[in-house]
């Protein structure tokens, strides 16, 4: 296969992936920017980036991680540009404190998740909502596996979800 054909095939695979996964990409983008227009913006920009940078993609099997990474970084950039990152308030700080036995009934997990630092939110979204493996989460976030595990525990603590409650795999416990 010539270099040209290989590149065309890669582009076609990528386009098919983008079209096929458009709703996933949108949901992922939305989980950061939290409004429709910005999320559509992120999806659009991510597609442009992916299509113009496809040379950087070497292994087709990492296509998903690679595209997710573009969406996540594009969403981060947009949040930064808009200076919309919510400052960490008292409410969230309290969540870092040791977790009590009982959880108040009105404890709004969704709100907590939304107000989390994106780097903690990312691990929850990617690991539990998008069902990526820890290794893949690390690939998307360009962090090493241990950093991802540490963040995952912190994030779960913020959500007051004790690790015992979770069906964590041995791999994640270690």
């Amino acid at each position: 296969m010539t270099e040209m054909n290989k590149r065309r095939l890669q582009e076609e695979t990528l386009v098919a992936f983008l079209i096929e996964n458009r709703e996933r990409l949108y949901r992922l983008a939305f989980s950061y920017v939290k409004n429709q227009d910005d999320a559509l913006d992120v999806v659009q920009q991510s597609i442009y980036k992916a299509l113009s940078a496809r040379a950087a993609l070497v292994q087709p099997e990492s296509l998903r991680s690679w595209v997710f990474r573009i969406v996540v970084t594009t969403a981060y950039d947009l949040l930064r540009q808009k200076r919309r990152l919510q400052p960490v308030g008292d409410e969230i700080l309290q969540l870092h404190q040791p977790v009590g036995e009982d959880v108040p009934a009105d404890f709004d997990l969704e709100r907590v998740l939304d107000s989390m630092d994106p780097k903690y939110k990312s691990v929850i979204v990617l690991r539990y909502f998008e069902d990526l493996k820890i290794e893949e989460v690390a690939e998307v976030l360009q962090e090493n596996v241990n950093t991802v595990k540490t963040r995952l525990y912190k994030a779960l603590a913020m959500l007051r979800l004790q690790k015992d409650e979770l069906a964590l795999t041995e791999e994640e416990r270690s």
Binding site: V15, A16, E23, L40, V43, Q44, L166
Partner: protein
């Protein structure tokens, strides 16, 4: 997974998807593509002019030849397999073969058609992948998509290429599209441009109905005509102005219908050769059809 985390996940999955998403995605993908096309000069002005002319006037082939001093696509032009997409699991299978026109010299016409065929192949594959994902969600069903091409005519003057698609999901359906190319004048022949005015639509339609009745009487075939179907909506009425067609090696016009459009599905794609004397008065010239 923890119950409350599962609830969060459910909310995440229920993120409302705006209607605009499809457009945003398709435009983003397409804009990029147009950019690529432009840079490869695939949509050069000459090709656009030829196409525009073909659609707008009943231009005679002789006039076309006089107007355009263009290099001929050449006798060496032939149809090749440009690309194949294959995907196979137990339940889902795609086997998409994209034709391409290979010419002795690079021509805008061949480039334009090849770009169109690639786009069709790509879209078909993307559609297959999307449908497969959808079917995986509901957890059952089989899906098989195959496509390929057939060269109906390839002589000094005419190249007729058909691209067929068979989709099997429960039952199968077959569709076929043709491009008929005037090699010497480098233009894609459309059905309307062959005729002086729109009268061809009725004349051809009536001839096809007559052929249907004859075949039903003599060969025991079934077609959907007003007298044979209880559902008048289904009965064949007229061809589309741009109905699928090709031109045979000996210059006969053949009209094609997709599976289940004018006849029961088991008959597959159906074709009718229109006797030239029936349409002779309507033709702009006897150059292509005689």
């Amino acid at each position: 997974m923890n119950r409350r985390l599962a609830e969060l996940k459910k909310k995440y999955e229920e993120t409302p998807i705006p209607e605009e998403l499809d457009n945003v995605v398709m435009n983003a993908v397409r804009n990029r593509k147009q950019h690529v096309l432009r840079s490869r000069r695939l949509l050069a002005a000459a090709a656009a002019v030829i196409l525009g002319f073909g659609l707008s006037v009943n231009i005679s082939p002789a006039l076309a030849r006089a107007l355009y001093d263009v290099p001929v696509i050449g006798r060496l032009a032939r149809v090749i397999t440009l690309r194949e997409y294959r995907f196979e699991t137990e339940k889902y299978r795609a086997d998409i073969v994209v034709p391409g026109i290979e010419s002795s010299e690079a021509t805008e016409l061949a480039d334009r058609l090849n770009a169109k065929y690639l786009e069709e192949g790509r879209e078909l594959y993307a559609k297959f992948m999307a449908e497969m994902e959808e079917m995986k969600q509901t957890g059952d069903g089989h899906l098989a998509v195959s496509s390929g091409y057939i060269v109906k005519t390839d002589n000094e003057q005419i190249l007729s290429v058909g691209r067929w698609v068979v989709t099997a999901m429960g039952s199968a359906s077959e569709e076929i599209r043709y491009d008929t190319i005037d090699k010497q004048n480098q233009l894609v022949i459309t059905l309307p441009m062959l005729f002086k005015d729109d009268d061809y639509i009725d004349i051809i339609s009536e001839n096809i109905k007559a052929q249907m009745r004859e075949q039903m009487a003599e060969e025991g075939k079934t077609y959907w005509l007003p007298e044979t179907t209880d559902y008048s909506d289904w009965a064949f009425d007229t061809i589309a102005p741009d109905q699928a067609f090709y031109i045979t090696d000996d210059g006969k016009l053949v009209i094609s219908f997709d599976e289940a459009v004018v006849a029961p599905a088991y008959m597959g794609v159906v074709e009718f050769t229109i006797p030239t004397e029936v349409i002779a008065d309507e033709l702009v010239s006897d150059e292509y059809i005689h």
